[in-house]
Assembly symmetry: C2
Homo-oligomer: 310 residues x 2
C-alpha cells in the first residue's frame, strides 16, 4: 500500500526529559528503535539522534518525513523565529534549544512534524489506539508531571501556545491540607496528583503505596475533579488516561480507574446527560491502547501527517 500516507516510512523522535526514544517505521507494529539519554547538553544528543536516523535511512530506505513529539514548553508558531524550539524549560541545558533546525540541516528538504509529547501521543492514540474513529477526545499522562493533548473536531487543539491542562486548579477535599508541589501553583492538579506529589504526600513512590492507603482515595478524587472539568469544557467523546501513576502499583490500574469513574459521575451528578457518562463510563475513561508506546507512535503519526501535507 505504498502511496497511502498512513503507511509512509518515516523517522520519529519522542523527546523526553530523561531520554530520547527514536524510531523508524510505518506504525506500532513496525518500529526499529534506539534510545539516548537526554542529559544536559543538546549538542551531544542531537547529533547522535540524526546519525542514527541517517544510518536507518541507509539500511531501511528513504525517510519520507520526521516527527518530533517533544517535552516543553515548545514554540509551535510557524511564523515565529523560534518555531521548532524547546523554549522556557527549567531543564538544565535545554532552554531555547532548536530541535527542528538540526533535523532539517541533516536531512535537507525533509518534512518535519513537530508538536508537544502529549499532542503526539493524542495523535498516536487516534491513529492506532483508543482514539480511533473519534473527533473529540483527550489524552492525559500522569507521571513526573501531568500533561494532556486534546482533539476537537478532528484536529489537535493548539491555540495561543498549547494546552497545559496539568495546571488546572481544583476544589480541595475538605480536611486535605497538603500544600502541593507545583513550583508555580502549589496545589494545582499536577501539584496534587503527579508522581512527585504522591511521593511528598506519603513518603513512598506510587508503585509502593499500599492499596488501602488514603492517598489513593485523594488521588482518585482530584483526578475525577479534573476529568469532570474537562467534560464541562471540551465535552470529549472519550478520556484516555496514561502515564505511570495510572498503573497504580499495588492498588492496580483497574481498581484506580473504577474509583475515578465513580467519582467523575459523582462530581457531574447527572448534569451532562449521555450514556457515555452513565452506564458506558467504563468505555469513556480508559487507559491508552498503545500503553507506553503512545508517545513514539505519536511521533510516527506526526511525521506521517507532515508528509501528507508537504
Amino acid at each position: 500500500m505504498t502511496g497511502q500516507w498512513e503507511d509512509a516510512f518515516v523517522g520519529a523522535i519522542e523527546a523526553g526529559g530523561t531520554k530520547f526514544v527514536c524510531a523508524t517505521g510505518t506504525g506500532p507494529h513496525d518500529l526499529a528503535r534506539a534510545t539516548f539519554r537526554t542529559g544536559d547538553d543538546p549538542a551531544q544528543v542531537l547529533p547522535m539522534v540524526t546519525a542514527w536516523l541517517a544510518e536507518q535511512q541507509r539500511q531501511r530506505g528513504t525517510l519520507r518525513a520526521i516527527g518530533v513529539a517533544s517535552f516543553g514548553p515548545v514554540d509551535l508558531d510557524r511564523s515565529s523565529p523560534t518555531y521548532g524550539y524547546i523554549t522556557s524549560t527549567p531543564k538544565p541545558g535545554w532552554r531555547n534549544t532548536d530541535i527542528v533546525g538540526p533535523l532539517r540541516k541533516a536531512f535537507p528538504g525533509i518534512a518535519v512534524g513537530f508538536d508537544t509529547d502529549v499532542s503526539g501521543a493524542t495523535l498516536g492514540e487516534q491513529h492506532w489506539g483508543n482514539g480511533q474513529g473519534l473527533t473529540d477526545f483527550v489524552y492525559i499522562t500522569i507521571g513526573t508531571g501531568i500533561g494532556a493533548g486534546a482533539m476537537a473536531g478532528g484536529q489537535l487543539v493548539h491555540g495561543l501556545v498549547h494546552p497545559e491542562m496539568g495546571h488546572m486548579m481544583l476544589p480541595r477535599v475538605p480536611g486535605d491540607e497538603f500544600a502541593g508541589v507545583c513550583p508555580f501553583h502549589g496545589a494545582c492538579w499536577e501539584g496534587l496528583c503527579a508522581g512527585p506529589a504522591l511521593l511528598k504526600r506519603t513518603g513512598m513512590p506510587a508503585e509502593q503505596l499500599p492499596p488501602d492507603h488514603e492517598a489513593w482515595a485523594l488521588e482518585a478524587q482530584y483526578i475525577a475533579y479534573a476529568l469532570a472539568n474537562l467534560v464541562c469544557v471540551l465535552s470529549p467523546q472519550r478520556i484516555i488516561l496514561g502515564g505511570s501513576v495510572r498503573k497504580a502499583g499495588r492498588l492496580g490500574q483497574e481498581r484506580l480507574f473504577e474509583m475515578i469513574r465513580a467519582k467523575v459521575q459523582e462530581a457531574l451528578n447527572g448534569y451532562v446527560v449521555s450514556p457515555a457518562l452513565a452506564g458506558e463510563i467504563d468505555r469513556h475513561v480508559v487507559p491508552p491502547l498503545l500503553g507506553d508506546d503512545a508517545g513514539i507512535c505519536g511521533a510516527i503519526a506526526l511525521a506521517q501527517e507532515a508528509w501528507r501535507v508537504a
Copy 2:
C-alpha cells in the same frame, strides 16, 4: 455582493429562556427584529415565530436559511431522532421540544442552522466582533446562568454533547463558606458567580451592589480561576466575557475586568508564557464587541453557515 455567503439574507432566532428574539437580515448593521415571550407553551410561541419570519420573507425577500441559537440542553447530533430538540431543560413546558422541525415544515427545503445560544454568540463574535481573525477563543456569558462556547482550530467545539463550562469546579477562596446555588453542583462556577448566586450571597442584584462590597472581589477571583483553567485547557487566543453580570452595575465593567485580569495573571503565576497573558492582557480578556446582540447575530451567522454548506 450577492453570492457571498457572509452577506446572505437569512432568518435568525435567539431562543432564550425569557424571550425569543427573531430577526432577518445579513449582519449586525442590517437587522429587522421582533421579540416574543418564551412562556411555557412552545405551541404558542413557535407559530408566532414562523408567522413573523414568513411575513418578513414576503416583505424583504427570500430567506436563504434560518439559524437558531437556543437555550439548552439541545440535541446537536444529526444522526439522532431528536436532533434539533431542546432536551432535558428544567424550564416548564419546554422539555423535549422540537425546534428545527416546525421551521422545516413552515419553510420547506430551507437550510436550518441549529446550535446552543453560546455557540451562536461565539460564531457571531467571530464574524463581526472580538473574535474576528481568531481561530481559538472562548465566548462566555454570565447572567442567570453561566454558559460558554469555544472555537478551536477555527471550528466550534461540540464533542460528545456540547460544552457546559459554567459547571466547572473551582478552588474555594479560604474563609468563603457560601454553599453556592447550583442545584446539581452547589458551588460550581455558575453556583458561585451567576446572577442568582450574587443575589443569594448579598441579598442584592448585581446592578445594585456597592462598588466596595466584598462580593465583587470574590466574584472577580472565582471568574479568574475559571478563566485560568480555560487558558490551561484550551489555550485561547482571546476570552470574550459577556452577559449581564460582567457589566458590574455600580462597580463598572472596566473596573471588574481590571480585577479579573489581575487575578488571572496571579492564578497563572507566569507559567504560560505569552505577551497575551502579560502586558497585553487587556486585549486578551475583553467584553463582546457585539454586546447584547452577540446572540442574535450568532443566529444570523449560524444561518449563513447553514446556507454555505447546504
